[in-house]
Symmetry: C2
Subunit: 382 residues, 2 copies
């Protein structure tokens, strides 16, 4: 057994696959004739089917949010800190559902899947997606699992955007909406960083206009660069200073020694980039960043977030982190202000944390306390 | 005449070239056997030769700081707002010298120059440079022009770092040091962005390990990406929001319309990137970002900025801008605190400005006032 598989872990988990054969109409006007969703569940669905919690993943996330895939598995799911026995999303009380979204590259139907019409990988021809498409496909998954109403829909970053969209599109099917480190729409600076990431991929000759699978190439350099840019925006200046400062990995900065100078932070970033580019699909990355760019919670509600949230019926927890400069606390306060004006019950916590946007993945004590306390309330209103 | 060539302009200017045939010893241990510097001057050197002001340029700057190159020239020099009759660096009173640094790509000896030992372009074999190398070559230019002591050495960003280095290396040759939007060394986040920029260039196949001139290729994609990343860090989140918001250049964000959606900010960034990559040398960009990375004002002074500034004899003006997140006001305050502790005369102004790091190039009224007032004082202590 991996040492981390203990009483606080959901233990060994196994992904399942749900296959949907009814066409899924997409926001772009096209539809997916059939699609598959890979998902995991943790905990037990109660008799009333009232304790289900949906986890929506962010840009590079997937269905494996908690536990381990084998006794030898050293790496737990991406939100293992928050999901498990005694953790904020307590699997002793909740039935947790975590999926890989359509368009993803971890088992659900996406650009690397075979397009049934051509017999070849979809690649760049996979339909563009909006957050609402993910929400609609997640609603299908809820039907498949016999869940009429989620106790909570939960997400950080892009996941928080899906959670908000759930509360507007399916107000009868969400009791609580938990929005962590998110925003109602991207800022110009957010859009700019996403554009750099996409251009890095598009300009890699190995990208082959998105047909790299057919060509037998992989745009590893472009994807690595995209990830490096993203990674800088996930960490705060402060966190980088604490973690790396100006420490050298090799060489010396003394005069006469300009060869082989390498800073720790630079080596770390390159490592992160190359790890990512070996495990993530470039077309998925492009598709996901476009969905982020196009997300605008209130667009169809006269650009009025208060009008938008007027359609919701659930309660909200909104959480932000002090050094998050990707989706700063100011962006969360915009959500909270709109919720208050729309007369929705909302709890807001701004957590002091040095770790920037990445803080939403980390077991920061006050964050865990706030999250746990709110989830207790979710349980109490069953 | 270009309409902008008026009484507030230095008018039509002509670059000059100074050729140096004594070897220049570099910090890396190698030397440049000969080198050329291209420079411009504005205003007249007075009889006492006491009114000379040196302009040090930043990452992508050059010698053309003010005025126009021809009556048809529509674009003034890069610091035209600050240099000219009646402007902060008043050419009615000062003799202004502005050069392209060695390692540059606008006429001074750099990677695109011919290496006399091989008869081919230096390319990636051009020696790595430190800010002190630029300062030493600028001192040669001062000798060439018969200037024993600068009334002021002035620079923004990387230029401010050179100005500070001048004050330590040649304390007898600088009366005033003007440091705008700079820092004593890069932060981990700064280092990270520079690494992304370099990796973008290095991973462009057209870079050809730096021998693109010989190969007849140009790493335009990599250089464009590098510039896009840099550009985001020059602008504040606020400035981008004001200038672009989420405005579209083409397409529509309505459902069913995902084709051809392009945000203004994304189109702008790509334009900036492609403009830059057509006019700047990739090896120079790499060399300059490395010099930035390696700059550490106090490294040879026991890492003690107070000890470092203890060697200086000049007065200082330090200026920062409220929304500059590349070199934030906090970084300028570190300089100011060290100067105070070292008992150096220092004036500090933090300018409220929305424009981020780029503010140092713009005619922001309070900035112009502070800068002009300080330069009056420079004049008064001739």
């Amino acid at each position: 057994m991996a040492p981390a598989v203990n009483q606080h872990s959901v233990g060994i988990v196994e992904p399942r696959v749900a296959r949907f054969t009814e066409p899924l109409a997409l926001a772009c006007g096209r539809d997916l004739a059939t699609h598959e969703l890979v998902f995991e569940t943790y905990g037990e669905l109660n008799e009333q089917r009232s304790n289900a919690v949906l986890i929506c993943h962010a840009l590079s996330g997937n269905h494996h949010a908690a536990g381990y895939h084998s006794p030898e598995d050293k790496k737990a799911g991406w939100w293992n800190e928050c999901i498990g026995p005694g953790k904020p999303i307590d699997t002793n009380r909740f039935y947790v559902v975590s999926l890989n979204n359509i368009g993803g590259c971890h088992g659900s139907t996406g650009p690397t899947s075979i397009n049934p019409q051509t017999g070849k990988p979809w690649g760049p021809d996979f339909p563009p997606l909006r957050a609402r498409d993910w929400v609609n496909s997640q609603a299908r998954l809820a039907d498949y699992l016999g869940i009429d109403c989620w106790a909570a829909v939960v997400g950080g970053s892009l996941g928080g955007m899906q959670a908000m969209r759930w509360s507007l599109e399916y107000p009868e099917r969400v009791r609580h909406c938990i929005v962590i480190a998110a925003a109602m729409k991207l800022s110009a600076q957010n859009l700019a960083f996403n554009e750099v990431a996409r251009q890095a991929i598009l300009s890699d000759p190995a990208f082959s206009e998105g047909r790299y699978q057919e060509q037998g190439t992989l745009p590893v350099q472009g994807l690595a660069l995209a990830r490096m840019v993203g990674h800088i925006t996930y960490l705060s200046d402060h966190a980088m200073a604490n973690k790396f400062g100006r420490d050298l990995r090799s060489g010396s900065l003394d005069q006469g020694n300009d060869e082989n100078v390498e800073f720790q932070v630079q080596s770390y970033l390159r490592y992160q980039g190359s790890q990512f580019s070996g495990s993530f699909d470039a077309n998925t990355y492009i598709l996901m960043t476009r969905a982020l760019d196009y997300f605008d919670l209130a667009r169809e509600y006269n650009n009025d977030p208060v009008e938008a949230f007027g359609h919701a019926k659930c309660s909200y927890l909104v959480v932000s982190f002090s050094t998050d400069w990707r989706f700063s606390p100011a962006r969360s306060r915009e959500i909270v202000n709109a919720l208050i004006a729309a007369d929705r019950p909302v709890t807001y916590a701004e957590i002091e944390a040095d770790e920037g946007h990445d803080a939403f993945l980390l077991p920061i004590p006050r964050y865990m306390d706030v999250f746990s306390a709110y989830m207790q309330r979710v349980g109490a209103t069953n």
